[in-house]
Structure formats: structure tokens, C-alpha cells
Symmetry: C2
Subunit: 293 residues, 2 copies
């Protein structure tokens, strides 16, 4: 059966790379904001939604999390980790004169991520902010008469017919974005194209009061069970400054004993605990990039 | 003496509200990316830089932190917390017909933050993404012949002569952005306009290895000294997936005994510890907003 998949549009972004790695011939629908995309799952407009959760360029963890925590019947059922690789690309007509480009178009975060390259190799070329790396690539493809370049990923180059003239121009290697797949029930979604890297259970824990050492006590519940935490992050609650909850990734599938017991103990200490999902995660292998020069 | 202050431009953004709350008649210079702004401090082009550190709309904590950790002689010397309040604004010519607007312009994150309002009151009006809330306000001010609105803050309304027709349209109250003031020496910067809310010391801690319970042990060093942690966040290191360091805010000024001893003990456990700054923090009071309707 064909499913309908919602994602944070437009085409040619890192989110779309994540969508294509998890879903094949399904109907894919781009939404312009994260809340709209989560609403689409809630209202059964789409079966799954793919959204950036951490360290994204186009989106932000805050908005995905804020709305995910509100939409209580929507769960994380899978995760794809995509390497962030930025390339410099131009219209095919302008491949030979890319070292003399007049302007660079991209999302401001992508421009920031290529700061060292730009300072070294294209120092006097003005950079122009666009709403996404995909929008920048589209603009460059529509203006062959201008000698301009876009910073974007390989999918954007393919989608808009641009030629990559310099690859991997981002400052930090090993920069990744986590994309989560959301669904209306707790049924994990496995991939038949990527190798499973492991399993995670994501919970939020609200401490009973802002007291020194409370977090230390909560972590004990995990530590003495040898439950490895791959992530712990304090995040402000929307009820006022200074109130935090903790977002915790346990590097393990939800089981019948260890995790439920840890949760029960935290609750007996006065904590509020919610499970956002228990799901497999995958690492996108990255794609080969062919240089035009 | 007049100082030169760098900030993440353009005008009319929340970053500019933070700058104006900390600095009076100084020379203020907008930069288009976060790394450029940090470089300006390193190269003595500016004395101070003001950048978003957490939960920002225009920027992102990741980029500020990544480059701050690299620029080792630059320290956090002060912090301003600014409430995020979004308003709907139109050109003064169009105040009477704002309920029939044809399009809404804003940054995609601001559009997402006003999701409930838009769905309830302006459901069929298309939203157009811009590179910042300031750029959206500028666009609306330049097109009085179009019946369009921008979502932006009160400073943007003032800066571009727009009329606020609906105030506080954001979904979550108590949403704040932390802005840090960076400087080339560890001299704290106090404000004479805002009341000091407290003092923080921000450290990064890299654990010796990815073992269950290691974080628990590190937190013990704080817990038994009654050092309250107002924030703890695990963040990926740029050396590969699965390697994390911790960003920790201690709710206390750097002292001669407690914090240095905690750091020494963590180091003796094999941790790498860096102090990003010890600084006072302030809460911007927000501004009164006058409705045009």
C-alpha cells in the first residue's frame, strides 16, 4: 500500500534526503512549517511525517519538540541521521568562470557553516541570504545570465540541474542532522535500504522542583541499571524562565523490566515522565558527488 | 569612551533589542553571519559582540557555540534574556483592512511560532518565508499598495514605520531567547539599565569515554557542593557521531574554592573542562505595544 508522507519542504533540502532514504514510491508532500506537518499526522492527512530534530539547517529542534510534546498521540517511530555536506554549485553555463562569481546565494546558516572556505577562497564575494538552501539553488538555476553560485547539498544540484564546482566546503566534518519519522501509533518503522545502527528510547523528565542535585538523583536510576544515555539535554518549559525539563535518549529498545522500572522510580520521586518513542536509527551513507571541474 | 559593538543583523530583530538594552550611544555594527561577528571580536574590529545562544529565531545555538569554543580567548561577559513576542503589523495605509490581507511575510520560524493564531484567524492566507522577521517588515513597508502583513517584533514595527494590528500572536507565552555578550577578556559587563537576575558560570565538560554512568559521576562533583546547575546539555563533538561533550551552566559566580575544586576533580577523572565565561544575567522587561486598531 502506498503511504502519504509529509515533510518540511521545499525540495532539494536535507529533510528531503532523509525522506527519500526511508520511503520509496510513496506520495511525498512538502509542508512549509513544522507545526503544519505535525498537524497533518494528527489529522490523518498523511501517515508519516519526517522532521529535523537536532542540529538542522532548515529547521530547529525547538519547534519540532515543542509541538511533538503537545501532540501526545504522535510518536517517534524511526530516525535517520544525515551527514551535512555543503557544496558550491553554479549553472552549467558558468562552470568555467566560477572563480570569478559575483555573489553567493544560500541559507544564512549554510553560509555560516562554510565560513572558513569563503574567507579563504572567495573573500570579497558578497553572500546573499535565502530562505533555504533549496531556494538558493532554484534561484541560481533560473538566472544563468548571472555569474552566481549557490551553497547547497547534492540533491539540490540534481533537482535544479546545477554543476558542483567545489565539494565539501563546510567547516566541520562529521556534522549531522537527526531526522525523526513521526506516526500516530507506537509501531516502529524499519528501513530495508539502510543498516540499523541501534535503537533508542526517548523520554522527557520533569523534575519535581529546582533543587541542587535533583538531576543527579534521576540519573542514578539509569546509572545503576547500566542504561547508557546517548543524550541528555535540559530544555526550558513554556511555563516560565528557570523551569526546565530534561530530554533523555536511552541507547536501548523499550523493554519489559529495566526502562519501565526506571520510569516508575522517577515518578515515585515526583518526576513527570513521558515516552516520545522507542525506535531504530539509521545513518545515511552520504552520496557520491561528481565535480564539474 | 565609545565602544564598537558587533551583532547579528539586520536591524529590527530580537538580537538588536538585546544590543540596545545593554549598550547606549555606542557604534553598533550588524554582521550577516555569526562566525563573522565572532571573528570581528577576535580581530579587534569590535570590542563586544552580541549573539543569540539559545532558542533563537534568527540564529541558532549550534553555530554560536561551535565558533565560541574555537575562539578560545573570547569569553561570555554578560547575558540578556529577551522575551519573544510576535505581532502582526501592516503598512499604516492598510490598517482598516487588515482582516482581508492577501499574504503574510515573516521568517519561517516566526510563522511556525504563530501557528495557532494563523490557523484560527487567518486560515486561508498564504504565508511567505523571508530571511528574517526584519526583512519581512522592510518588505511590507516598501509595498503599501499591497494589502499584506508581517509577523515581527515591536522594534521592527518602529524601525520600518508599520502599525501593529494584533499583538502577542505567538503560541507559547514565556518563550525567551538568551543573548550573550562576548569580549576578549574575562571582565564581566554589568548593565545600569536592567536589574541583575543572577550570575552564571558556563563550562564545557568532555567525558573520558562513552561509558554508562560517567555523567552521573561528573554531576556528583557539583551535587555534593550544592552547586545548582541551571542548564545541562549534551552536544555532539565535531569529531564524529556518538561523541558528546556537556555544556553546563552553574548558577553561581566563579569563586576561589567550590567551582575550581569541582573542575580539578573532574579533570582528575580524565575529563576536559573549559570555562566559557562567568557573567551576570539580565531579563529584558519587554516593551509596551500600542495597537493601531
Amino acid at each position: 500500500m502506498k503511504e502519504t508522507i509529509g515533510y518540511l519542504g521545499p525540495k532539494g533540502t536535507f529533510t528531503k534526503i532523509a525522506v527519500d532514504s526511508m520511503f520509496n514510491g510513496d506520495v511525498k508532500k512538502g509542508y512549509s512549517t513544522i507545526p503544519e506537518c505535525i498537524d497533518a499526522v494528527v489529522n490523518n492527512e498523511v501517515s508519516y511525517a519526517v522532521l529535523p530534530l537536532e542540529n538542522a539547517i532548515e529547521g530547529t529542534v525547538n519547534i519540532t519538540l515543542d509541538y511533538l510534546i503537545q501532540a501526545q498521540d504522535v510518536k517517534i517511530v524511526s530516525e535517520v541521521i544525515v551527514p551535512i555536506r555543503q557544496h558550491l554549485m553554479v549553472h552549467p553555463d558558468n562552470v568555467d568562470k566560477w572563480t570569478e562569481i559575483d555573489a553567493i546565494y544560500s541559507h544564512s546558516h549554510a553560509i555560516a557553516q562554510c565560513h572558513s572556505f569563503l574567507r579563504k577562497e572567495l573573500v570579497k564575494v558578497p553572500a546573499q541570504s535565502m530562505t533555504s538552501t533549496g531556494a538558493a539553488a532554484e534561484f541560481v538555476s533560473e538566472h544563468p545570465e548571472q555569474n552566481i553560485a549557490a551553497i547547497a547539498n547534492h540533491l539540490a544540484a540534481k533537482e535544479y540541474g546545477l554543476s558542483i564546482v567545489k565539494k565539501d566546503i563546510h567547516d566541520f566534518d562529521n556534522n549531522h542532522t537527526r531526522f525523526v519519522v513521526l506516526h500516530k501509533s507506537q509501531t516502529e518503522l524499519t528501513s530495508n535500504k539502510m543498516e540499523e545502527k541501534g535503537f533508542k528510547t526517548t523520554v522527557t523528565v520533569t523534575l519535581p522542583s529546582d533543587q541542587p542535585g535533583a538531576l543527579h538523583q534521576v540519573l542514578s536510576a539509569f546509572a545503576w541499571r547500566n542504561l547508557n544515555l546517548s543524550k541528555i539535554e535540559s530544555r526550558p518549559m513554556k511555563t516560565g524562565l528557570g523551569n526546565y525539563y530534561f530530554l533523555i535518549d536511552i541507547e536501548q529498545k523499550m523493554d519489559d523490566v529495566l526502562i519501565p522500572n526506571a520510569i516508575t522510580e522517577m515518578e515515585s520521586l515526583g518526576c513527570k515522565v513521558s515516552v516520545l518513542g522507542s525506535y531504530p536509527y539509521y545513518l545515511h551513507s552520504g552520496n557520491g558527488v561528481t565535480l564539474a571541474v
